[in-house]
């Protein structure tokens, strides 16, 4: 398509504007903002899209403001083999006119004109290409995809395709439509097919259900047939069973009569037996009574004989018992005498022991009393004797200290050759001849021998301290001696020795007291001694005088021991005699018991005999022995007779085998009953089935099943046809899609080559691009760096967008097809250098397609070498 010129009237702010385009090159339309540049392509769109009667928002938005005029557009166009003049006015006095100039002149108006143009454009214009080749002002800058039919055909030709035609596009469209009739975009069956499938399944289920119902009816019929056969068999069986039951019942009645006869004979026989038994018992009783009389007479005689034999034995036992008892009494008397003598000997011995004890207690008492006196005295002395060993040691040490102190102090020893009177430090001292006077010199001592001499003796250095120590030692000694109440060490030692002696006496007294008192007190000790003394006195006064009191304890002890032995011997003898006496008494008791027992038994035997004799005599008075014997013989014969009859009847009954007969009869009755029940069950079941069949057979199930089967058959056929069509459509689509995609790979090459041809003008010789299957530029490589389009700068993306459109237009336009490239105020992001190069590229493409550039920036496209520039006047 080529635009020759366009004219706008009353279009937005444009009153009247006409622009003529350069059909085989670049037309640059310059003008300030709002002068109506963008209205040119917009008006062309309105003209092509909307009927003159349209009052759509698009139309109303281009109505001039403040004027009651309708917008109007006219365009002169070449498209394919057509060239026409097309004009349309909206809103006010709307009208459409079409004047086709070639190939044949036509003049149309109104709706016919509109429809004719649509036909022409549908025939000659690739609407997708028309949209793709436009860069509109204010729209988002994107690299378009050029998956448009016209480009595809052109590329096919460029790639060496034989003769690509629009028919292919239509064919592909039909194939796609056919596929979409049967398949969703995701490759699933369309709802109609699914519904068909479901209808088939439902029909199949209905057929199946009806078939099952029919099968059930057939089963019922079969069962009815079986029941009929079974009923016949059961009726036959029932007849047989009933006949058998009647037959066995007759036999059973005969057996019952036999049974009754046996019962009657059995009763007779039992009565006879009972009578026989009673008479036999009576006979036995009589015989037993006679035997009892005889036995008891014999028993009495035997007992009497035994009593006679036992009498002398009892007498002998009595005599021996008496003798043994006498001996025992004698031994008892001797023992008692001996025991008395033994007690007196023991008393005598104890008496003498008590005498000794009194003596010992008295001695102990006296020693205790004496020791207590000694103890008291010692305690008293010790209370005043303060010098002990310890104090003596201390005095000795003090004494030694004095000696040492005095030895250290300077002294003057004055020995009188003769009696001498002198004064020592003013104190007169008289010394006998040879007597020596020691004077200690603590500091200074003045010895004055009257008239002779005065000696002043001075101690050396330290003498004063030594003198002090000596005084202290003397004071210590004196204090200790004062404490011990002694004059000096010698007295102290003597006093200590005396204290030891007193302590020893005290200890001995204590020991004596403890030993003699033991656990007693002095008073108890005295009391015990006094008590024993009283018993001694009392015993001596009370003791029989028939025998003398042994002289001493030893004699008494000896006599007691002798008496003790005598008593022991007598006790042993007495016990021996006691045992003999007990044995004799036992024998005597036994004999006496035997004698008593025999007497009792004899009494009893006599009573029993009497009783038996009385019983026998009384019985014989009632019925004699002969009568009993005769009756018994008669009864025995009767028993024999009835037994034989009974045995014969029982034999007959056994021969009839009543138990087996009862079992057979019972079985026959049960069999008849069971057969009857089976037959009844058979008839009941038959009635159920008959009723069910009567109801079911009225439903016409067979016809319904056939109808449903027929419907199913046709649904299946229809479904199969649909599926075959769907599969064919899918296969056709898939194969075409595959081949088409494969061919597109070839298309890419010329398109890519064309883009790179223009791109190298703008960028440099290293420029290459990658094209995807939708013929969209995906990546650009420049100087070896490959970037995705979205990674490029806005300016570079814009440039690439223009270049790709130019390339597409250049490919599709040479044969007069395609559509113009319309660039509305693009390349605003390009630097001057790029603008210059873009100008060269646009110029290169302009020679191969119509290019219309709208711009409000004069000079932006000044670098396009071969271009027609149209400057729209400003509205002002």
């Amino acid at each position: 398509m080529r635009f020759h010129r366009v004219r706008l009237w009353n279009y937005r702010g444009v009153d009247n504007c006409e622009v003529a385009f350069f059909t085989e090159g670049v037309t640059v339309i310059e003008g300030p903002n709002e002068v109506g540049k963008t209205s040119i392509p917009e008006g062309i769109d309105l003209l092509f899209d909307l009927m003159d009667s349209s009052k759509s928002r698009r139309v109303r938005s281009v109505k001039p403001v403040g004027r009651d005029e309708g917008p109007e557009v006219e365009v002169e166009v070449s498209s394919g083999r057509y060239r026409f003049l097309y004009r349309k006015r909206w809103l006010r006095r709307s009208m459409t006119t079409l004047k086709i100039i070639s190939p044949q002149h036509e003049q149309l108006s109104g709706r016919a004109a509109h429809e004719r143009v649509k036909e022409i454009l549908a025939e000659t214009l690739d609407s997708a290409l028309w949209k793709a080749l436009r860069v509109e002002q204010g729209t988002e800058l994107v690299i378009p995809k050029f998956d448009v039919p016209s480009l595809g055909r052109a590329l096919d030709r460029a790639a060496g395709g034989a003769s690509s035609t629009e028919q292919h596009d239509d064919l592909w469209s039909l194939i796609c439509d056919e596929r979409e009739r049967h398949w969703t975009l995701t490759g699933r069956p369309k709802g109609k097919r699914t519904a068909q499938q479901q209808a088939v399944e439902q029909a199949r289920m209905r057929v199946s259900e009806l078939a099952q119902q029919l099968d059930r009816m057939e089963d019922d019929v079969s069962e009815m047939n079986r029941l009929a056969v079974e009923a016949q068999q059961l009726e036959t069986t029932q007849d047989r069973c009933e006949r058998r039951e009647r037959e066995l019942s007759g036999q059973w009645e005969s057996v019952q009569r036999l049974n009754q006869k046996v019962d009657r004979l059995s009763a007779d026989h039992s009565t006879a037996l009972e009578k026989q038994s009673r008479l036999t018992a009576e006979w036995k009783s009589r015989r037993d009574a006679a035997r009892t009389v005889e036995e008891r007479q014999g028993q009495l005689a035997a007992l009497e004989s035994e009593a006679r034999q036992a009498a002398p034995i009892l007498a002998a036992a009595t005599e021996r018992a008496a003798a043994v008892e006498a001996g025992l009494d004698k031994a008892r008397t001797a023992l008692r005498i001996a025991e008395s003598e033994q007690r007196r000997a023991d008393d005598d011995r104890d008496h003498h022991r008590r005498c000794i004890e009194v003596q010992q207690l008295t001695e102990r008492y006296n020693r205790v009393v004496e020791a207590e006196k000694t103890l008291e005295e010692a305690e008293n002395r010790l209370a005043f004797a303060k010098v002990d060993e310890e104090l003596v040691v201390k005095i000795e040490q003090a004494h030694l200290a004095v000696v040492r102190a005095e030895a250290a102090v300077a002294s003057v020893e004055t020995t009188a050759k003769r009696e001498l009177s002198m004064r020592v430090d003013g104190e007169d001292v008289i010394l006998g001849e040879g007597e020596t006077q020691h004077t200690t010199v603590e500091d200074e001592v003045v010895l004055t021998i009257p008239d002779v001499a005065q000696l002043r003796v001075r101690a050396g250095t330290g003498s004063k301290s030594l003198a002090v120590e000596r005084r202290k030692a003397r004071d210590d000694l004196r204090r200790l001696c004062d404490t011990a109440a002694v004059a000096d060490l010698t007295e102290a030692r003597a006093a200590a020795e005396q204290r030891k002696e007193v302590q020893r006496a005290r200890d001995e007294a204590l020991e004596t007291i403890e030993r003699d008192l033991r656990d007693l007190t002095v008073d108890v000790l005295r009391s015990k001694a006094e008590g024993l003394s009283r018993r001694i006195t009392s015993y001596e006064a009370e003791r029989p005088q028939d025998s003398p009191l042994p002289p001493d304890f030893e004699a008494a002890k000896r006599i007691a021991a002798d008496n003790n032995r005598v008593v022991g011997d007598l006790q042993a003898e007495f016990k021996s005699l006691e045992r003999v006496a007990e044995s004799a008494a036992d024998v005597l008791d036994g004999e006496r018991i035997n004698e008593s027992n025999l007497s009792g038994r004899i009494k009893i035997a006599q009573d029993a005999k009497t009783q038996a004799v009385n019983f026998l005599e009384a019985a014989r008075k009632q019925r004699s022995d002969d009568e009993i014997t005769t009756d018994l013989a008669t009864a025995e014969r009767h028993v024999e007779t009835t037994g034989e009859s009974l045995e014969k009847a029982e034999k007959n009954l056994r021969a009839a085998d009543p138990e087996s007969l009862a079992s057979r009869l019972s079985n026959a009755r049960e069999a008849a009953q069971r057969t009857h029940e089976d037959l009844q069950s058979n008839r009941d079941r038959g009635n159920v089935l008959r009723g069910r069949l009567a109801v079911e057979s009225e439903k016409g199930l067979h016809t319904r099943r056939d109808e449903e089967a027929s419907r199913l058959r046709h649904l299946e056929r229809e479904h199969q046809r649909s599926e075959a069509k769907a599969q064919a459509a899918a296969l056709l689509y898939n194969i075409f899609a595959r081949c088409r995609q494969k061919a597109r790979l070839h298309y890419v090459v010329p398109f890519k080559r064309k883009i790179e041809q223009f791109g190298r003008i703008v960028f440099n010789a290293s420029f290459t691009v990658d094209i995807d299957d939708d013929l969209r530029v995906m990546r650009r490589t420049l100087d070896g760096d490959t970037l995705r389009v979205d990674q490029l700068s806005t300016g570079a993306q814009e440039q690439l967008g223009v270049i790709s459109r130019l390339a597409c237009a250049a490919i599709v336009s040479p044969d007069g097809g395609g559509a113009p490239v319309i660039i509305d105020d693009a390349l605003g992001w390009s630097d001057p250098s790029r603008l210059e190069r873009m100008g060269a590229a646009i110029a290169a493409a302009g020679g191969q397609c119509q290019t219309i550039i709208l711009t409000c920036t004069p000079g932006r496209y000044a670098h396009i070498g071969k271009a027609t520039t149209i400057r729209l006047p400003s509205r002002a």
Binding site: G161, H168, S697, A724
Partner: protein, 379 residues
């Protein structure tokens, strides 16, 4: 001498599954209408009665509407005595249609069910000896069982046996205990026990054996393609010494089955002519068994032929399209398509697949036909 109509296998209520709804309705109606034709024959030929030798109904469980309409048809011909024999389709079992409430309540007086072997006097001096089926799988020769206890008829009585089932001489299943022994049957006829055996079960009219007295009447309306001579009833004229059987066509429907090998446009044209020549198309059920190889263009023409005739015939059942009949594009096809570039390649791929055999080939042939249509090849 007695003259009667011998018919059988009405199979009223039979649903022809291969027919669409409209044709199926007509087909069912025709089966009922044949009762009228038979009644007219009985009256027109001066027959004494009509015997229906089994399978009067398609099943014991047919729709009650069919039953009452059939009885109504017979009611409207009161001068015609119909004797109906239960057959294997409608045996006299517990669910028998002949014992159903609907049948019992609606049976007209001129209709008699032959429900036992006790002789039924159908006309003065004419006894009917029936061998009804009591279940679907009898274990004996019912005809022989019905005649076994019969003494030879007197010279004043004609006996007509009414039976149903296959005769052993012309039935391949020799072990079937229910087969009718032809030898015994002819022996019975020879001994004068019966004088004519009217049989049902075989849908093709057939003279059985050598006596001329044993016949299958065939079904009065055809029911399947396998039948060789259906659509008839028999006018039987019989006495002790002579028998004359006359077949009369009463059927109005027809089953046509034909195998065609197609390999050229001529074959298709011949097939078209054959279809055109068939009469009574709306009552004709056609089955075509196709084989051979066709180009896409001729297959399209064949499809067009069928698309035209499928509306003319009661049913047009074409078999073998997907297996025996192969569709392969030839050079003319390729020219007709007028495709180039990738479309030409796609056509080539499809053609290869169509000739490869198997299920995919069938789909490819359909796809070729589709492509042919899209590409305007059949304009």
């Amino acid at each position: 001498m007695v003259k009667f109509v011998h018919t059988a296998d009405w199979q009223l209520g039979k649903a022809a599954r291969y027919l669409n709804g409209e044709a199926r309705t007509r087909f069912s109606a025709a089966r009922l209408d044949v009762i009228d034709s038979i009644a007219e024959l009985v009256v027109g030929e001066g027959c004494d009665f009509a015997v229906v030798c089994g399978d009067v109904f398609e099943s014991n469980h047919i729709d009650r509407q069919v039953l009452v309409r059939a009885l109504e048809k017979m009611r409207t011909a009161p001068q015609v005595a119909f004797y109906l024999l239960p057959g294997n389709h409608d045996p006299l079992d517990a669910s028998s249609v002949f014992r159903s409430r609907t049948f019992v309540d609606n049976r007209p007086d001129n209709v008699t069910v032959l429900d036992g072997s006790t002789p039924v006097q159908a006309a003065p001096g004419v006894e009917l000896i029936a061998a009804p089926w009591f279940d679907k799988s009898p274990l004996t020769d019912l005809v022989d069982a019905a005649c076994r206890k019969l003494e030879p008829a007197s010279t004043r009585v004609l006996r007509i046996l009414i039976g149903h089932g296959a005769v052993d001489a012309i039935h391949p299943e020799a072990n079937d205990p229910a087969l009718i022994s032809l030898e015994r049957l002819e022996s019975i006829i020879g001994s004068g026990v019966i004088h004519y055996a009217a049989l049902g079960d075989r849908h093709s009219t057939t003279d059985v054996g050598s006596t001329g007295r044993v016949w299958y009447s065939g079904a009065p309306e055809p029911t399947a393609h396998v039948e060789t001579d259906p659509g008839n009833v028999l006018i039987v004229d019989v006495d002790w010494n002579h028998v004359h059987v006359d077949r009369r066509r009463v059927g109005t429907w027809r089953f046509e089955r034909k195998a065609w090998e197609l390999s050229s446009s001529v074959d298709i044209a011949v097939l078209g002519d054959w279809l055109t020549a068939l009469e009574d198309k709306d009552r004709t059920i056609v089955r075509l068994e196709l084989s051979g190889q066709l180009s896409v263009a001729w297959k399209a023409r064949l499809d067009g032929l069928f698309a035209h005739n499928v509306d003319l015939f009661a049913a047009l059942d074409v078999r073998g399209e997907s297996s025996s009949l192969v569709v392969i594009p030839d050079d003319a096809d390729l020219n007709d398509f007028g495709l180039t570039g990738f479309a030409q390649q796609a056509l080539s791929d499809l053609s290869g697949l169509a000739g490869s055999g198997g299920d995919r080939a069938a789909v490819a042939q359909d796809a070729l036909a589709l492509l042919y249509r899209f590409a305007g090849g059949n304009k």
